[in-house]
């Protein structure tokens, strides 16, 4: 009997409140925004906050009301941007996909370790003590704060070198690791970029080489070697202008420490279609590396000095040059020879 009373009372209360709620929901009904809902549907829904809005709902709201661009979601990249562009009726320029890149190669195997750090396994804590236990104060501390904040499982600390590694396929460029890193070792860089400068230490060459075998010593050979003026020296460090860089990878070939790093496996080589070539010599004159041989009105051939910059393919009036993956790596000795032959006039190098 007692229990029946309790059930009835609570049930009755619930029923009354239910009716009340229905009435309130009717009175305060908010007109639905179909555009916002469609945008929300197109977003990835990870609620990572990379866009700067509170979750995907906030981002969808901002896009639908026009406060944010259709490319606001850094995680979705160009795919999502295109979908949202269709919903909003806005044309989308292809956005270059960016990935977090570790600007340091100084693992424990290459960068000197000052002392054994036994404190809290946290980069912020380690950075306070004696400027970190790495000799280089710009080095990755490798205690994995970025790994812990990454919602996409894209970051791993290499157990052997204690260096952070990013999986470019999994990285969604939300930028959380970049905010987290006390050393500012991570940076968003275009994924398609095959050449990257991976050192942030602006100190004198001797000081750098005493600390780390992978550090930039400021020799400026990369800037002198670059045929496209894509490298400028800022604060003793080379800075690559990614719009000018054509991934010829010559800078990485001449770099003595390997701080300028290129993915040589992805290097291309030009191939001339012998049936179409009319021997105009335009490609030969365009090539800055002496990689194209052949006389006027004769078929031209590409030799091993080709760096895969693709300048010839753009210039060829018959469109008979295609860029293909290399079968074997370019011989660096050829590179040195070519560098000597086609050295730029001194006036062109940046005095800074």
């Amino acid at each position: 009997m007692e229990i029946l009373k309790a059930v009835l009372v609570l049930g009755g209360l619930g029923a009354v409140f239910g009716v009340l709620l229905t009435w309130v929901a009717k009175v305060f009904a908010v007109p639905k925004n179909p555009v916002r809902d469609a945008v929300r549907e197109a977003l990835p829904g990870a609620n990572c906050g990379g866009c700067g809005y509170p979750g995907c709902d906030g981002c969808a709201e901002a896009i639908a009301s026009g406060r944010a661009a259709v490319t606001a979601c850094p995680v979705g990249g160009s795919d999502v941007a295109r979908k949202i562009g269709e919903i909003m009726g806005v044309a989308v320029n292809e956005t270059e996909r960016k990935v977090a890149t570790v600007i340091c190669q100084g693992g424990t195997d290459r960068c000197r370790v000052k002392f054994k750090y036994l404190g809290i396994q946290d980069c912020n804590a380690a950075a306070i003590i004696q400027d970190g236990n790495k000799a280089c104060q710009y080095a990755c501390l490798g205690l994995g704060n970025c790994e812990r904040v990454c919602s996409f499982d894209a970051i791993r600390v290499n157990p052997h070198t204690r260096l952070v590694e990013v999986d470019p396929k999994k990285c969604q460029s939300c930028g959380r690791c970049i905010d987290e890193c006390p050393r500012k070792v991570l940076e968003l860089r275009p994924e398609s970029q095959l050449v990257n400068m991976l050192c942030r230490n602006p100190e004198m060459g001797k000081n750098v080489s005493q600390k780390c075998s992978a550090g930039c010593i400021g020799c400026e050979r990369c800037a002198k070697a670059c045929k496209f003026d894509a490298i400028t020296i800022v604060n003793h460090l080379p800075v690559i202008d990614h719009d000018k860089c054509r991934s010829c990878m010559v800078c990485a070939e001449v770099c003595p420490s390997g701080a300028m790093k290129a993915i040589f496996e992805d290097r291309l080589i030009a191939e001339i279609d012998q049936d179409k070539c009319v021997g105009c010599t335009l490609c030969k004159r365009t090539c800055q590396f002496g990689a194209i041989e052949g006389e006027l009105k004769q078929k031209h051939l590409v030799n091993d000095a080709c760096t895969g910059c693709g300048a010839c393919a753009e210039k060829c009036p018959k469109k008979c040059i295609t860029m293909k993956p290399r079968e074997k790596a370019r011989d660096p000795r050829v590179a040195v020879k070519v560098e000597a032959q086609t050295a730029k006039p001194a006036a062109q190098t940046d005095p800074a």
Binding site: K5, A6, V9, L10, L13, F17, V24, F28, V30, P54
Partner: protein, 205 residues
């Protein structure tokens, strides 16, 4: 009249629910980043607590006590609070979308905000300390309203302090929550000073 003065000062300063009884710490830290949001949250909570005090008093005295179902108090009160929060959420969505956005997840969390349930329950049970009598409907509602004002006061004060802390040069390990927690502790100590007001109130009485 005197009862109301005692309730006013007692609930806001002497027995402040946040600073002296440590209820509602979650929104106290969560929504105290900006004074504007803190004020909005305080108003939402004030609305919920005042109405909840009113309705729970009715539920207690006209339903639970006559039917001898006082043991269902917690469930019944939570039911009332949940409905009220839902009403507030719907209303805010319609009337002030910007405040609704700013409060975010903390708005539905008022349901589980312990300060709301604590005020409702203490009003109908411990409220009896007033001269050995249970508080009347009006006094009970006023009591809840004052408790909510006390909550708002604590929230806005901390938000003001935190806004200034954002501007100042704090050590890295003090930024954000650690600093806020230390400030909250100092504020709680400061509020202990209001305990002396009790004697003054007795003199007035």
């Amino acid at each position: 009249m005197n009862t109301f003065l005692v309730i006013l000062i007692g609930q806001i300063l002497i027995n402040n629910y946040v600073m002296c009884q440590f209820y509602g710490i979650c929104p106290f830290l969560g929504v105290s980043k900006k004074v504007d949001t803190a004020l909005g949250m305080g108003m939402a909570v004030t609305f919920v607590i005042t109405l909840a005090s009113f309705i729970t008093w009715l539920v207690q005295n006209f339903i639970l006590v006559p039917l001898e179902l006082e043991y269902l108090q917690t469930i019944a009160f939570i039911l009332v609070i949940a409905v009220l929060v839902q009403v507030v959420e719907n209303a805010l969505k319609k009337l002030s979308p910007s405040l609704y956005q700013a409060l975010g997840v903390y708005l539905p969390l008022i349901t589980t905000n312990c300060v709301v349930l604590a005020v409702a329950q203490k009003n109908v049970t411990e409220g009896a300390i007033m001269d050995g009598q249970t508080l009347g409907l009006l006094a009970s509602t006023f009591c809840g309203f004052c408790a909510a004002i006390g909550f708002t006061l604590a929230l806005v004060l901390l938000a003001g302090i935190r806004e200034r802390m954002e501007q100042s040069n704090m050590p890295k390990w003090m930024e954000g929550f650690p600093g806020a927690l230390i400030m909250a502790g100092l504020m709680a100590i400061a509020f202990m000073g209001f305990g002396g007001l009790l004697q003054g109130l007795h003199l007035v009485g």
